[in-house]
Amino acid sequence: MDIRALVLVSKAVEDAADPMPLSALAPALLEVAGRTAVQRMVERLQEFGIHSTTVIADSDFLIATDGNQQGTTCQTTPRERFWRAAENAFSDLAQEGAELVLLVHLGGYAEINLEKFVQFHLDQHARVTQVSVQGEPLQIFCISASRRNDAASLFRSQLTRCRSECPTFEHNGYFNPLREARDLRQLTIDILTLKTETKPSGIEVRPGVWMERRAVIEKGARVLAPAFIGAFARVRTHAVITRCSSVEHHAEIDCGSVVENSTVLPYCSIGAGLDVAHSVIGAGVLANLRRNVTVEIADRKLIGFVVAGRGQRFLSAAFELAAYLPKQMWRGVFGPSQPQQRDLRTALHNTSPSLGGAAGYQASACDTDAAEKFPSTLAVARRYGDH
């Protein structure tokens, strides 16, 4: 049986109106543990033997297709022509001889047993079958390709109304709605803790630690499982990546920063000595999940961007290299002497070096030197009480 797939990716209207989005892209086009929800869906379709997939996206983002995703056609279309393009793509698939078309609108990420879904559609002798999760309909359909009018009515109503009776297939497997930053974070956790069938991309260098090609973890940095470091990402010395954190491709974590239970989206950089916890970091935006707040961080010393273009990156790296030696000489001769941090513990107890001159400020509560004067076995009953 000739089964083909049509995957639609559009940014929802309410997302577009979001005053502080994490990224200009739809959540399904954001990398989670190395791959986007679209790429994972296409791979899943291929696993079930569907090798011809058409992907239509409403943003100008080019969906990367690697060698494993042969047979995938990608189209980008303006938002206003999105549904017309989807209808045309369906007609093309039907003309090419498809008998069934699986229509997936991402949206959320669902791991549907496609074999059972298609069998259910055939058993029901239905024109269109829809997937639902706990009675809630998802925008995933199986459409008999010969029923073009039903398909046209579905596309023209933006997948909200079906012309004929539409049986529903109850999905009991993994589903993530991917509506907000919290969902994106949850998907990362589920992938890293292997609750999903899809796995992090790259190589598992240690149990629970995945790394993609050309990722750099500098000496002194610590990556605690489960964690993911994407392609070309850089974790600088004394940084700590822990508790299901994911550093996506081309992201940078500067010296001494701690990334705990967080997702750092592609091309984001985190300044030195910062504490990022329970958050999703986007383009100059931090979504803190514990406080349930999204904050714009205008200061590029705290959260910035990594230059995207290869040429620009090369030039900026060359400039940094050329400027390094004179800068060090200048600092050595004229700069104030700075005491070296002795260990990781001291580094973690200090304020962020991104704060400049005030970074050296030590409050009594953080005075680790005083603590070191006493043996570790000494019990301090009331450390900051009355004298």
């Binding site: 000595g273 910062l274 504490d275 803190n288 406080r291 714009e296 961080i297 200090n350 001159g357 509560a365």
Partner: protein, 131 residues
Amino acid sequence: METISRPVVVKRMPERLNARAAREFLRDVQPFLVTDRPQLVFDLSQVKQLDAAGVEMLLRCMSEAHKRDGDLKLASLSPQAAVVLELTRTERLFEIYDTSADAVRSFSGFLPNAMRQQLLHRQQPPAPLAA
């Protein structure tokens, strides 16, 4: 012994606290910082954007206040300010209160009990007489 209670200065911080705003704010609070044992409360309820220069300014103010045996406390942190202070590991350096009133009240916490009672009596209006 006669003890004079020192005033507590409450200052509301601007909406955006970047390098320029931080400089201006520091200039505003400088006269209060150079007094003997300054007692300051910064209200951060309106802060929408706080950057490294703003945090640096807060640390500088606290450092100046501590030098003169005083203290600086923060109150009514907006979520944005709270996130940035947490991000820069500076929230643990400050005493933070839910409201400015709580922060002001906390300065009288070190007074002897007898004096605290006197102050409370002075603040509370006399109870109405029963008919």
